[in-house]
């Protein structure tokens, strides 16, 4: 059964537009799942696109594609980050059935292990708070399957790292307190840096808008890294994990850092490329993620 929808001006009752032959019956295709495009295999049109500005004649043909179940970015981020926070603590407190029973609920005698727990927890609490209060997302949703993929990654690595760091047979860093202090300094600086960048990016974009601008250094010295890289938030993030790896001298942490670095480099390069495409006057000195190198 098909419907006809008319839209009239509220004041003048003038007919503004009408939709004819509307077939109802797919309530599961909520807006976030809809992809409309000019070509079946082409890119999705944006919400902001205006029909008049598109290369169509008087009869426009649009192709619909169902993007599949969607989930909001905020939900994904919160789940991704809450997991590691909680999981690490399970290992830190040596909850039963992880290590031998004689170690249940015991505490490590190494200071660095306690410090590592504080750093790791701080890192993920910071991420959760940023997700709730700082970040402004340009997309509302992502495909549902991403949450399984992402959570496996974050939760899996968190468990793997936490297992060794909190293990009764953990070996503290070779160079002792010096190594830990240096690593802690790197970690703290990079966490502050990362946060500063997130704030700077937030301030670039007014609430509710989806505009994109070139980010520039602000008065905050941590943002001066914008002079050299497009995505200093990723740079600082890698730095934080390198700091954590040095602090714990744990190979799984180093591997996690490496994998994260690889992924962030891919993202940074993509972002860098879009900046270059969108802005003619983009600062030429900038590299995607590592100053002068990458």
């Amino acid at each position: 059964m098909s419907h006809r929808v008319e839209i009239l001006d509220a004041k003048t009752r003038e007919k503004l537009c009408f939709l004819d032959k509307v077939e109802l019956g797919h309530p599961q295709w909520y807006p976030a799942r809809q992809s409309l495009r000019l070509d079946p295999k082409g890119k999705s049109l944006k919400d902001e696109d205006v029909l008049q500005k598109l290369p169509v004649g008087t009869t426009a043909t649009l192709y619909f594609r169902d993007l599949g179940a969607q989930i909001s970015w905020v939900t994904v981020f919160l789940t991704e980050y809450a997991g590691p926070l909680f999981i690490y603590l399970l290992f830190y407190f040596r909850v039963p059935f992880i290590y031998g029973h004689k170690y249940d609920f015991t505490s490590s005698r190494h200071t660095v292990v306690h410090l590592a727990c504080i750093c790791h927890s701080f890192h993920y609490i910071k991420r959760l708070l940023e997700t709730l209060f700082v970040h402004r997302f340009s997309h509302g949703t992502m495909p549902l399957r991403n949450i399984f993929k992402n959570c496996t990654y974050y939760w899996g690595f968190a468990a793997w790292m936490a297992y060794y760091i909190n293990h009764p047979l953990y070996t503290p860093p070779t160079y002792g307190a010096q190594q830990v202090k240096l690593a802690l300094a790197i970690f703290v600086i990079c966490q502050l840096g990362n946060f500063s960048i997130h704030m700077a990016l937030r301030d670039l974009r007014p609430a509710g808008s989806k505009t994109r601008k070139i980010p520039y250094p602000t008065k905050n010295p941590f943002t001066w890294l914008f002079l050299l890289v497009s995505c200093p938030n990723y740079t600082y993030e890698v730095g934080s994990w390198i700091g954590f790896a040095i602090m714990t001298q744990c190979l799984p942490v180093a591997l996690f850092s490496l994998v994260g670095f690889t992924q962030m480099t891919i993202w940074a390069k993509g972002k860098h490329r879009s900046y270059l495409k969108e802005f003619r006057d983009y600062p030429p000195l900038r590299m995607p993620i590592i100053p002068f190198l990458l």
Partner: protein
Amino acid sequence: MGRLTEAAAAGSGARAAGWAGSPPTLLPLSPTSPRCAATMASSDEDGTNGGASEAGEDREAPGKRRRLGFLATAWLTFYDIAMTAGWLVLAITMVRFYMEKGTHRGLYKSIQKTLKFFQTFALLEVRIVPTSVLVTGVQVSSRIFMVWLITHSIKPIQNEESVVLFLVAWTVTEITRYSFYTFSLLDHLPYFIKWARYNFFIILYPVGVAGELLTIYAALPYVKKTGMFSIRLPNKYNVSFDYYYFLLITMASYIPLFPQLYFHMLRQRRKVLHGEVIVEKDD
């Protein structure tokens, strides 16, 4: 996919879909997208233009050939001929051994150098196309894993019957596959080779997988006893690795991977041999 016609397949370097009969040990990604499926198809074996052009083929006219540089074509032709020859030599050696000795004991030992050489040579098969480098890479690494980390490293299992099982499967598969490529490149593909390529796998694939799994299973007791390739705590890098459990997980991974690849191959077969139009699930 239009390219999977004789004409298209005969185009330089055009690897048609499906790695017939390849008992691929660990097969990676699920072909849930046409690009993935496409890259699985061609890139299982090669990648190159295989991967990219499979995906691109959706938009290009069927039968349109990919033009590879002369150097690349020359190299590929040499490579394919060399691999066909290598696996043929392997097959003949195996048959002769069995005819002379009447047993499979010592068979592995007699062919191991040749096997290692040609299977490792397959590392050169990993091409530059980004998506398929991953798939082909995993494919080749799993073969390398089998040869170097199982049969080479765990001597006691070399005389197991299961080793012969996968050796036979691999040999027949590779001979078929590389001669398919060779003739495709040379623009003279006999139908029976195409037929072989898209039918042998139906038997060879499960046979190969069975051989591999049984071999790994046979190796387990030795691995556990010797603690080989393993690291224990405490150590200064705070990491541990247990090869025994790693092998168990590897065996388990066959369960999701094998059916995916097998059905993918069956779909490729229907397309190529029976010209069925099968719509792949899109992104």
